[in-house]
């Protein structure tokens, strides 16, 4: 065995270290601002995740074309969280501690968000959550610019009561924080309005066989059905099996987005959806956004939706907050996030209500051709008491 001369090894190492040191000083001046996006590229969220990444890419491209944030370029770091807790831990860990991102801005499942929050707390970085969710997730570093049940459920239930005089409801969901949280709120709300809940059933998130639940639903004979599954596969299997079983009562789906509804084809016909974004919102900002998306992605464009548009606005909210704060310093940015307003495709969004945002909610119905017909608009719906203990 040939021995390696120790002196040579040491000098090589020394040179390497010096090189690395030089590199890092050179990079200092133009150090980009890194935004981490842990998102469900695989698993339940994989239907919607590409659209979320696309809208973030557009936001970053636009920002960089106009000189970045405080003169610094913005780059995205995307990581797959597998739509669940285990994947999210890895994704957050690698983004925050290896890629050293300056902020997390993302849409993901509640399971993934809950798994990621302690890691965000440890890393002390701002986290803008851009997915609608079951509400009442409070953390010093967390802001949410999408809707919570208080904003979204009421329009559906009110509409069913008014239009169909629906008195009895059946609730079906995926067995996780979002599914249970949404339906718990729906039950409370419907009961407070004099409605009656005939059943509340859950299937595990990766479950595909809704047979028994659908039989229970048919036996209960409710006036209306409200579902809240994980987005993507569970939503699709449930809707398909409901339609195959001939269930045709008014059907409010709290977890379907426009894009998914479109690709489900005829099975989605007649489903009621409610949310803060529809592609055909008639505003200059939205038309501009749609045109820019169309131009950037062309045939590869994933339909912008209620999960991807908040992501776009989330990036801009971070930009506004950093500019207001004058730096990426976490405490200053956190403070500024609650003060800045973003004019986006959904209108003016300001996360000034206990870390949440008042939003305009649209109630729509999926048509035969997959488009969503706007039925009613509810202006600036308040998120209610989400985090009363957070300053």
């Amino acid at each position: 065995m040939k021995a390696i001369p120790v002196a040579r090894l040491a000098s090589t190492l020394g040179a390497l270290c010096a090189g690395a040191l030089m590199l890092s000083t050179v990079a200092q001046g133009a150090d980009p601002i890194k935004i981490g996006i842990p998102v469900g590229l695989s698993g339940a969220n994989s239907v919607v995740a590409p659209s979320v990444v696309q809208s973030a890419e557009l936001a970053v491209e636009e920002i960089n074309a106009k000189g970045g944030i405080l003169g610094r370029k913005v780059v995205l770091e995307v990581a797959d969280d597998g739509s669940g807790a285990a994947g999210a831990q890895k994704a957050f860990d690698s983004l925050l501690f290896q890629k050293k991102v300056d902020a997390i801005i993302t849409m993901e499942t509640s399971a993934a968000r809950n798994a990621g929050l302690p890691i965000v707390t440890r890393a002390k970085k701002p986290f803008i959550y851009t997915s609608f969710y079951e509400g009442r997730s409070c953390n010093k570093y967390l802001y949410v610019n999408a809707w919570v049940p208080d904003q979204q459920v009421a329009p559906v239930v009110d509409y069913f009561m008014k239009k169909y005089n629906s008195k009895t409801y059946f609730l079906i969901g995926s067995d996780y924080a979002y599914g249970r949280g949404m339906l718990a709120f729906t039950r409370k709300y419907a009961e407070s309005k004099g409605g009656k809940i005939l059943g509340e059933e859950y299937l595990p998130m990766d479950g595909t066989d809704w047979t028994a639940i659908i039989s229970k639903l048919k036996a209960a004979k409710p006036d209306a059905l409200i579902t809240s599954t994980a987005g993507g596969a569970p939503n699709v299997t449930l809707t398909k099996q409901l339609r195959a079983a001939g269930v045709n009562i008014p059907y409010g789906n709290l977890a379907v987005d426009e894009g998914t509804a479109k690709s489900m084809g005829a099975d989605a016909d007649g489903i009621y959806i409610s949310g803060s974004y529809l592609t055909n919102i008639d505003s200059a900002k939205n038309k501009e956004f749609m045109a820019a998306m169309q131009k950037k992605f062309g045939a590869d464009l994933k339909t912008p939706n209620d999960l991807s548009v908040p992501q776009y606005e989330g990036v801009y909210a971070y930009k506004a907050a950093v500019e207001k704060a004058g730096s990426t310093d976490t405490d200053k940015v956190i403070k500024a996030l609650g003060e800045v307003a973003v004019e986006g495709p959904r209108g003016k969004i300001q996360m000034n209500k206990q870390r949440h945002a008042p939003l305009t909610i649209y109630l729509g119905q999926v048509q035969k051709d997959g488009n969503v017909k706007l039925l009613e608009t509810f202006k600036d719906v308040d998120p209610g008491e989400q985090c009363p203990n957070i300053k």
């Binding site: 299937l203 047979t211 039989s215 036996a219 993507g232 001939g246």
Partner: protein, 277 residues
């Protein structure tokens, strides 16, 4: 009434999903863990048919054909060299299942996709309105079971296959080409798995993990049925029925565990399961 239909249709779906696994296990004495992968292949075959704009029923022959071709290639390249090492063969098929999933992800993307359903809606059946497609699956399971039994009991190849199942060395000694029997069996098993994948797509979504949730249940059902198509049918009815009952009267979260737990208990108390000997 609806409950009885639930049980029968659930059993039929399980039977369709398990048949391919059973015949491979019967002849080759290995559990083909790539079965889930072949189910996924079937789902994507149905997707191709939809994308070509063909009628959804074409999904059945197309998926069977694609599954058979995959089975042939894999038998020749991966499984055949491992005949003498059954444990390694099981590991190899496990890896194969992962590879198939990843290849599909590369080719079709990770996202959930949609396949057109050949029939839609419910029909009135025995006084209850019931999903038309699930009833069709009962017919499919019966046809499949009869066809396989006929092939095993009525053809020369079936006779040779049964001989290989009973005693492979003796069969070889009598001049039966057991290698060929194994080749055909694996091909058929892959084809049937793929066919099953296509048959379940109208009830589920198509994604690269389509087959995974079915694999463990199918494995357990095959374990308790020994090597007979009849006992597989009984196992599907009993365990599938238990799953429906637990989901209905207990809760669906527990229902998902029923098959696995009952099968494990059954094997503990009666090692031969539903098989006669």
């Amino acid at each position: 009434m609806a409950q009885i239909l639930d049980i029968i249709t659930t059993a039929a779906i399980l039977y369709v999903v398990c048949a391919g696994l059973l015949i491979v296990f019967g002849v080759m004495k290995i559990i083909n863990f790539a079965h889930g992968g072949f189910l996924t292949v079937g789902g994507y075959s149905a997707l191709l048919v939809t994308k070509m704009g063909w009628h959804p029923w074409w999904g059945i022959p197309v998926s069977f054909a694609i599954g058979c071709v995959c089975g042939m290639v894999i038998e020749r390249l991966v499984v055949r060299p491992l005949y003498a090492r059954p444990l390694d063969a099981i590991l190899a098929t496990w890896g194969l299942g992962i590879i198939i999933g990843q290849l599909i992800t590369l080719g079709f993307g990770r996202e959930v996709q949609f396949v057109q359903s050949p029939v839609r809606g419910a029909i009135d059946f025995a006084g209850a309105s019931y999903s038309q497609y699930r009833l069709i699956l009962v017919g499919a399971a019966i046809v499949l079971g009869l066809a396989l039994s006929a092939a095993l009991n009525g053809t020369r190849l079936g006779l040779q296959t049964r001989a290989v199942i009973m005693n492979e060395n003796l069969a070889r000694g009598l001049g039966i080409n057991s290698g060929l029997v194994r080749f055909i069996t694996f091909t058929l098993g892959a084809g049937l798995a793929s066919l099953a994948g296509a048959l379940i797509t109208p009830l589920s979504s198509v994604d690269p993990n389509l087959g995974v949730p079915w694999l463990v249940g199918a494995f357990m059902l095959v374990m308790v049925s020994g090597m007979s198509l009849v006992s597989l049918a009984i196992a599907c009815l009993v365990l599938g029925g238990a799953q429906v009952l637990v989901s209905t009267y207990g809760n669906p979260v527990l229902g998902g565990l029923t098959i696995v737990v009952l099968a494990a208990l059954l094997l503990r108390l009666r090692p031969q399961g539903f098989a006669r000997e």
